[in-house]
């Protein structure tokens, strides 16, 4: 296969994953939440258990009028959804799902740094939306987004650094090659901190203070309608895919499984990602929203010390076993 075709094919596959996986997670969320609350959820669209509900939602969003408030900063307002969404597409490129060369969009030498850096850029979209909407609720949402990002970026980086120390490389396939099963108990604190901090960065419940629909009316997205609003929602679900995929790759051993490692590696990756995505949905149904001061306190007094302790533990064990 020649190079250009190979690259095109990889990009196409990643793009298809980017378009479908968030929808699958969204549909699962509809159904799982409904059943946890003693409802049925969507049952009509598409016939079988409402499988086409999100497609119908997409069509509805596309039909709505695209409104830009008169007082808004037009260009930044319109640009913000793209800035929020595209980084997750780029991150998906770097996540390996199987052991072979062909199972990753693009092998990146400094994979962890690439992934965390680009994920951080996505939050700029929310900030731009919050400021450019000329709406005080949006501005409050933007402020909370920024404060939350500043607080939770650090524990996320530190725990990712812990894995990189354990593996002796910062490349994502390299980390998976070095993975052993006993890393799971060794890095478990880091895994939990990473996952929680990632949830906070995605502004998922219980860390949804910045969007808090019942008090600041969806924060930065208050003024958005139609397709642009749908893009923000898509960014949230793409973010779940990326976070669960990353946690799988960094902490849960990606394609490694008890059996069938050759050939079936990608099934393990997808399975672990799906279980994590289910936990994300479960947390949304279970926990009440954290208040802003509780949010900050959780990060600075619990997650940061825990991640520092994890780094210390990683360093000690690493020196001992060498």
């Amino acid at each position: 296969m020649n190079d250009a075709l190979d690259v095109t094919l990889r990009l196409l596959i990643v793009f298809v994953v980017f378009l479908t996986f968030p929808l699958i997670i969204g549909q699962t969320e509809h159904k799982v939440m409904a059943h946890m609350q003693g409802r049925l959820g969507p049952m009509y669209a598409g016939g079988f258990h409402g499988w086409a509900q999100l497609v119908a939602d997409g069509v509805k969003f596309a039909q709505k009028e695209d409104v830009v408030p008169a007082g808004a900063d037009r260009r930044i307002f319109q640009l913000a959804p793209a800035v929020a969404l595209l980084p997750y597409l780029l991150v998906l490129l770097a996540i390996p799902i199987g052991p072979s060369e062909g199972a990753v969009g693009e092998v990146i030498d400094a994979g962890i740094f690439f992934v965390l850096a680009v994920m951080g850029v996505g939050v700029l979209g929310s900030l731009m939306a919050g400021w450019a909407s000329a709406n005080k609720f949006s501005l409050l949402g933007g402020l909370r987004t920024a404060a939350q990002l500043l607080a939770y970026e650090l524990p996320m980086l530190l725990t990712a650094a812990s894995v990189a120390m354990a593996a002796g490389t910062v490349s994502l396939p390299g980390i998976l090659d070095a993975f052993e099963w006993w890393w799971l108990p060794w890095q478990i604190v880091g895994a939990i901190v990473f996952f929680v901090a990632g949830l906070a960065e995605l502004q998922r419940p219980p860390f949804d203070m910045p969007v808090a629909d019942s008090e600041i009316i969806f924060g930065a997205y208050t003024e958005y309608t139609g397709l642009r609003f749908a893009l923000f929602l898509l960014a949230e679900y793409a973010g779940i895919v990326v976070l669960c995929g990353l946690t799988t790759v960094l902490f849960l051993g990606g394609w490694h499984g008890p059996w069938g490692a050759d050939g079936l590696g990608w099934v393990w990756t997808l399975l672990k990602t799906a279980v994590l995505a289910f936990i994300v949905i479960w947390l949304r149904v279970t926990y009440p929203r954290l208040r802003e001061d509780q949010l900050q306190k959780l990060s600075w007094t619990l997650l940061v010390p825990l991640s520092l302790a994890q780094i210390a533990l990683t360093g000690v064990v690493k020196v001992v076993i060498q």
């Binding site: 930044i76 030498d109 965390l116 939050v123 450019a132 900050q296």
Partner: protein, 241 residues
């Protein structure tokens, strides 16, 4: 900001200088990477210029994102992948978010800010030009005939960067961390002092409300609000750090 852009263009000019200096590499037949490097350098320089000249504060911060992102692309083109992603992580992901946070806290207006101009404009320009000239001179003088082989093993990969950092440059690295530590301690000292000064007047009012805490009086709410605001501000300042 313009310094960064100037440095970038300095890099760009250096490449051309080295092109002429190095015998093996012709000036008139630049490779695709060199052309891309020059174009990205121009974009970075333009974005940096707009950053310092625009009257719209938030636009300035967003153009800064373009300038810093352009610099990251330049690093990538020079095969310094690690530095490029760290540049994005630290500057775009954290410093600009911090800037935007500050701008939102101070309610930066949409549209032009009438006072977003400085009387020191010409002094600032002079300083910028002098600094840029110094940097260009130093860089050109230091790397006159050095040529980065873009096709060979990556000279700026994570492994190469780590090895040179912790073998040849450990002392400057540690000195930098002491500098950061000093900044950290300084920030704590400053914030503690500010807190002590600002919290002394409301002590009386709080004591007054403390005598009747259970009364759901509407006059109490603003004071409670103040108290809460003071409670969260250290956390925010910590976040800012």
């Amino acid at each position: 900001m313009s310094l960064a852009a100037a440095a970038a263009t300095a890099h760009a000019t250096t490449t051309i200088t080295t092109t002429t200096a190095a015998e093996a590499h012709g000036f008139l037949s630049p490779t695709g990477v060199e052309i891309a490097f020059l174009l990205v350098g121009l974009v970075t320089f333009g974005a940096a210029l707009i950053t310092v000249t625009t009257r719209q504060l938030v636009h300035a911060a967003l153009w800064l994102v373009v300038a810093l992102g352009g610099l990251a692309v330049e690093y990538l083109l020079l095969t310094a992948e690690f530095i490029a992603w760290v540049q994005v992580l630290i500057y775009v992901g954290s410093v600009v978010v911090l800037l935007l946070f500050g701008l939102m806290l101070t309610k930066a207006p949409i549209g032009r800010s009438p006072d977003a101009d400085s009387g020191n404009r010409w002094v600032a320009l002079t300083v910028a030009v002098v600094a840029a000239a110094t940097l260009v001179w130093v860089v050109v003088d230091a790397f006159r005939t050095t040529w980065i082989d873009l096709d060979g093993p990556a000279a700026g990969s994570t492994r190469a960067t780590g090895e040179s950092l912790f073998q040849n440059w450990v002392l400057p690295f540690e000195a930098l961390s002491v500098l950061l530590l000093a900044a950290l301690v300084g920030a704590i000292v400053l914030s503690r002092k500010a807190k002590a000064e600002s919290s002394s007047p409301p002590v009386n009012s709080r004591a007054a409300t403390g005598s009747s805490p259970s009364v759901p009086d509407s006059r109490n709410h603003p004071i409670e609000g103040n108290g809460r605001g003071e409670g969260t501000s250290p956390a925010e300042q910590e976040g800012a750090r």
